[in-house]
């Protein structure tokens, strides 16, 4: 089972946290501090796994962002590594070549997508298409609100050209 998902930037800034096991706010900060200390300082050629307090943390770096997932001793690390990659691919497809900025300003979107991928610490869906479908179904609901903002942005985009 995945106990939590963490997105941390290279500078140690938190971009996304999702906790599937109960942690208090204090523990959370401690976990983040401890892990980002360990992971950010690891060299590039080392394993993507860290043993930590009897758990294993699988991480992968994409550009300046580290995606980390904490799993049980008995889980398959390579699989989790691919779950991370799977998530990134979905984000990429959704945002269109995703970058850290997308996640900074649309972290709630990243949470929604994560909710379609993982639930209660387990992989619930492994098909990118299915996830894309349900996320876009949600987005259709907000179409109306979007149009309004879209028109303003178009005006500004025109003006700045």
């Amino acid at each position: 089972m995945i106990h939590f998902v963490l997105l941390v930037s290279r500078q140690g800034k938190v971009r996304l946290t999702k906790w599937y096991s109960p942690y208090t706010q204090k523990e959370r900060s401690k976990v983040i501090r401890e892990l980002s200390g360990v992971i950010l300082n690891r060299g590039p050629k080392l394993c993507n796994f860290v043993e930590w307090r009897g758990y294993k943390v699988v991480y992968k770096r994409y550009a300046s962002l580290y995606f980390c997932m904490c799993i049980d001793q008995e889980d398959n690390e390579l699989e989790v590594l691919e779950i991370i990659h799977h998530y990134v691919e979905i984000l990429d497809r959704y945002f269109g070549s995703v970058c850290e900025l997308d996640l900074i300003f649309h972290f709630h979107k990243a949470y929604y997508i994560l909710d379609e991928l993982l639930i209660a610490g387990e992989l619930q869906e492994s098909s990118k298409k299915t996830i894309a479908r349900i996320v876009s179904a949600h987005d259709q609901v907000v179409e109306a609100a979007k149009e309004e903002a879209g028109s303003i942005s178009n005006i500004i985009a025109q003006a700045t050209k």
Binding site: Q11, K13, V14, R15, T17, K18, T24, Q25, I32, L46, C47, N48, F49, V50, E51, R53, A63, S64, L78, L81, E82, V88, D92, Y94, G96, S97, V98, C99, E100, L101, I104, F105, H106, F107, H108, Y111, Y112, I119, A120, E122, Q124, E125, S126, K129, T130, A132, R133, S136, Q140, V141, E143, A145, K146, E148, A149, I152, S153, I156, A157, T160
Partner: protein, 942 residues
């Protein structure tokens, strides 16, 4: 101008996500991004908290605004600050009718609240309502929240509805309902125990996503109770077979592998079902063999599956062919340049080694490379492997290595683990007791406070009992060496408390036993300990008791005792100690010093820690005294049972029998004491605590000397059940010492260096290893020899062949990680292929899914489907024509949703100009893109 552009971009981004965020929020994110230090960030967040607190209190906050505030709260909390002041607003937002707001509310509460939070009770009602909603998106949002928020007490409130949703027409809902039930099962297995048939049913769901999700709860259920799921073995195997044959829709492919995540889950389940079950294992052999052949070891996901296969094979009843395939896969892993794969290889090796112990030999050099790798993760995994393959022949090398590593790390969690492993190995395989004590000393010295206290008691027992045979000479040598080593260590600063306890105890018992050290020398050392660790009462207690023993032995042997001045002052200090325990020990010591030799000898006999103290529970030695008292008119003793039955307790009875206070409260009134018997006799009857030590064991305030001794006695008796390091290890020394001549040769030529693996390994390989690092190869081989030493005859040639492996390693192994994956071709017609496929696959007479159907009660009988893949098409599974229909529906279904995303991708994704803009913006925001490549993720995703 520049700024305007930024705003334009931000707004565009806002619109793309569908959320027009206010300038205020964007500024906040921006300023956080620009913050140079944590302190600055904290300052910004704190002022933001102030703002939000004020805003949330304003009357009539518009809903759109409120939604943004909630997202800002999420942001604050994500940065590690407390946003609890706004939780209630998030809860309120879940009540909203607007899906957009509701979803934001649910997202926020799932992020804010743990399942035991008080506010959850306010959400349960909303969840119940939402589960009934017609809009499946609302239902999905509620199910997401359920998985995070519902706890044991609230499960019954939503359970029936969730079960109903298992038959919902939307697969997304069914899937989430399954996951919710899985969660319930984890929280409280009893709550869903009657629903297990539902999981079985969902295994045959039309939608592969639902089927895949069902494997999660099934895995848990099966790991709890394997036997009741044996009937599913062939179903799982046939599902796996079909998955590997690419019978699932293409959309489940991942990096050209068909549904790898489902494959892995299935393999995990099969490992459970096949373990110890021959017939089940035999069904699996075929498909496992296929997997080994089919798996593409050039991709990470392919290796993930291979690894899972290895695990599965190591769990089920072994099959020689498969073992060979697994060993091949492992050697590929180990030879890879990727640390990840090496790690998996070591792990796999650790699993297979239980089945075929000689598999490790061909990889010895790879293992040693991993052991010496700078990567801690890899190193630890290798230690785990070594731990698994420890034998009495290589225990010394392995434990030495472990201890060296243990000393070098500060991670307490791992230190504890590796320390306990060292102790366990030392107990199991110790070649000699001397060695055992040395190892224990090292473990205590460097990880003392992390070691289980039982380990300390074991060590004391070993020293006290010696070899357990009647070889007094060897015993006393052992003790002497222990005493000597402790006297050396004792003056080192900052020893762990537990270690000091052991030291004090041993010095007390055996410090003067040999006559080598004088009593005043030992007692001086003990006083130093008590002084140096004056805040540690346990250590002080041990030290004082040790002092008492030393003086007692002196007195008993008729020598004159002169108490050192520092001892005297220690005793005086402790006489006034706040700790009653220390005080008592000090008083006892003082009293003992005043007694004569005979009395002292009977109180503390020499070297009697192993003697059983016979506790006279009946206090028979008091019989005469009692007789006398009764004769002079005292009332006879009434046993406790009679008293509580008859309830005649008088005050003094309850006083003098100390077990009475332990009774539970009585609610009836006490009877008046009956004036029975002459009062003066009754006072006589009270057994006053006498100075006699023999009555002690029954007194609540027994003098601690005896109580300590008694307590060690009790512990010893408890531990005595398994005597791990006793006889068997002794035998192993004899077997090891039979090859000393070979051992002498061992260091000169490494070809037969392994011959002495058992005997010589104790010191030579390690010390020489430390002295000269450059010439690694022979050293490594020697180490390998001492690690993998077994039957020396066959090993030499094998070793040379594996030595030949090593240089070839770099060239032979191809880079196993392929960093770039070709972009998965986005073809419009994959669906067509998908649905065309089922018609092409002719159904054989042994339809695997039929077996599944047999498990079904009713649900998928609908079409009476003969077509296997019909199960996975959206519409009724009959013929090509219908599958075209379903394709159309599929397309129209997805076109609504996907078209836009694709469009945006087409306009945005490959557009490098836009990507450049993005990058520029990132720079501006202080987010620092580190790669030269402006498209950031693009390079990684190919």
């Amino acid at each position: 101008m520049e700024q305007l552009k930024t705003i334009g971009r931000e707004l565009a981004m806002g619109s793309q996500g569908g959320f027009g965020q206010s300038k205020e929020f964007l500024d906040l994110v921006k300023s956080i991004g620009e913050a140079r230090s944590k302190a600055e960030e904290d300052r910004i967040v704190l002022s933001e908290i102030d703002i939000l607190k004020r805003r949330l209190l304003e009357p009539d906050v518009p809903k759109r605004k409120m939604k943004e505030y909630i997202i800002r709260l999420v942001y604050i909390e994500m940065l590690g600050h407390d946003a609890s002041f706004g939780y209630i607003h998030a809860v309120k937002m879940t009540h909203d009718d607007n899906l957009l707001l509701k979803r934001t509310g649910y997202l926020a509460v799932t992020l804010f609240l743990n399942e035991d939070h008080d506010l959850i009770i306010l959400i349960v009602n909303t969840i119940q309502k939402d589960l009934r909603s017609d809009n499946y998106l609302v239902v999905c949002a509620a199910l997401n929240a359920i998985c995070r928020l519902i706890n044991e007490e609230t499960i019954p409130a939503v359970l029936p509805q969730v079960v109903d949703l298992l038959n919902h027409q939307k697969e997304a809902v069914r899937k989430k309902a399954i996951m919710a039930l899985h969660r319930f099962h984890r929280k409280s297995p009893s709550s869903v125990s009657h629903l297990i048939s539902n999981f079985r049913k969902r295994l045959c769901d039309n939608d592969p996503g639902v089927m895949g999700a069902t494997l999660c709860p099934l895995f848990d259920l099966i790991s709890e109770d394997v036997t009741s799921y044996k009937d599913l073995v062939s179903s799982f195997v046939s599902i796996l077979k079909q998955v590997t044959e690419r019978r699932l829709p293409k959309s489940y492919d991942y990096h050209q592998m068909p549904a790898p995540f489902i494959q892995i889950k299935l393999l995990k389940i099969m490992a459970l079902l096949g373990s110890g079950d021959k017939s089940a294992s035999e069904i699996m052999y075929m498909v496992l063999g296929d997997l080994f052949r089919k798996c593409d070891s050039s991709t990470n996901i392919g290796n993930a599956i291979l690894y899972e296969c290895i695990r599965c094979i190591s769990c089920i009843i072994p099959n020689p062919k498969l073992l060979e395939a697994a060993a091949d896969a492992i050697s590929k892993f180990l030879k890879s340049d990727s640390h990840n794969l090496k790690y998996m290889g070591i792990d796999g090796l650790g699993r297979l080694i239980k089945i075929s112990p000689d598999i490790a030999e061909q990889h010895q050099l790879a293992v040693i490379d991993c052991l010496e790798d700078p990567d801690d993760t890899l190193k630890r995994k290798t230690f785990e492997l070594l731990y698994k393959m420890t034998k009495s022949s290589n225990v010394e090398v392995i434990v030495d290595r472990m201890i060296d590593y243990m000393i070098s790390i500060n991670d307490n969690h791992y230190k504890t683990e590796i320390a306990s492993r060292c102790v366990e190995l030392a107990e199991q395989f110790a070649p000699s007791n001397q060695w055992f004590i040395q190892i224990m000393n090292k473990v205590f010295e460097h990880a003392g406070d992390l070691v289980n206290i039982k380990v300390a008691h074991n060590l004391m027992r070993l020293i006290a009992e010696g070899f357990g045979e009647d070889d007094d000479d060897a015993d006393s040598k052992l003790r002497l060496s222990a005493v000597e080593s402790y006297l050396q260590i004792i003056s080192e600063p900052k020893l762990p408390s537990l270690f000091l306890q052991v030291i004090s105890w041993v010095l007390g018992e055996y410090g003067t036993a040999d006559g080598k050290y004088s009593a005043s020398y030992i007692s001086g050392k003990l006083c130093d300990v008590a002084d140096a660790y004056s805040s540690d009462e346990t250590v002080k207690g041990y030290a004082v008791s040790a002092l008492m023993k030393i003086y007692a032995f002196e007195i008993a042997s008729g020598r004159k005792v002169d108490v050192l001045p520092e001892c005297q002052s220690l005793i005086e200090e402790l006489l006034a100690s706040h700790s009653t325990d220390l005080q008592q020990r000090a008083y006892e010591l003082q009293a003992l010093l005043a007694l004569d030799a005979r009395a002292v000898e009977s109180i503390i006999p020499l070297d009697a820690s192993c003697e059983d103290i016979e506790v006279d529970k009946d206090l028979s030695f008091l019989n005469g005294y009692i007789q006398q008292a009764i004769e002079s008119g005292a009332q006879p003793y009434i046993s406790e049972r009679e008293r509580s039955g008859m309830f005649e307790t008088t005050d003094y009875h309850s006083q003098d029998h100390h077990e009475v206070p332990s009774h539970a409260l009585r609610f009836e009134a006490y009877e008046l004491p009956k004036p029975s018997g002459p009062p003066q006799a009754s006072t006589e009857l009270v057994p006053v605590p006498e100075p006699s030590y023999y009555s002690e064991p029954h007194q609540p305030v027994s003098t601690s000397l005896v109580s300590e001794r008694e307590s060690t006695e009790i512990k010893l008796r408890l531990d005595g059940v398994k005597q791990k390091w006793g006889r068997p290890s002794y035998q192993s020394t004899t077997s090891a010492s039979s090859t000393p001549q070979q051992a002498a040769n061992g260091t000169t030529t490494h070809s037969d260096g392994g011959g002495g693996g058992a005997g010589s390994s104790s010191s030579k390989p390690r010390s020489s290893y430390e002295s000269k690092k450059p010439e690694i190869d022979p050293e490594k081989q020697r180490l390998a020899a001492s690690l993998f030493g077994g039957s020396s005859s066959s090993r030499t040639d094998r070793k040379s062949s594996s030595g030949g492996h090593k240089p070839g390693k770099g060239t032979a192994s191809k880079p196993a990680t392929i960093p770039k994956e070709n972009p998965i071709p986005v073809q419009p017609p994959p669906d067509l292929l998908d649905f065309g496929e089922p018609t092409a696959t002719t159904v054989t007479s042994t339809d695997p899914f039929k077996e599944l159907e047999g498990l079904l009660d009713s649900s998928s009988q609908d079409g009476g489907s003969t077509d296997v893949m019909g199960l996975y098409s959206d519409a009724a599974p009959v013929t090509t024509s219908t599958s075209v229909d379903s394709l159309l529906s599929e397309l129209s279904d997805s076109s609504k949703g996907n078209a836009r995303t694709y469009q945006s991708q087409a306009s945005k994704g490959p557009n490098s100009k836009e990507a450049l803009e993005k990058d520029a913006l990132v720079r501006q925001m202080g987010v620092n893109p580190t790669s030269q490549n402006p498209t950031l993720f693009k390079d990684l995703l190919g």
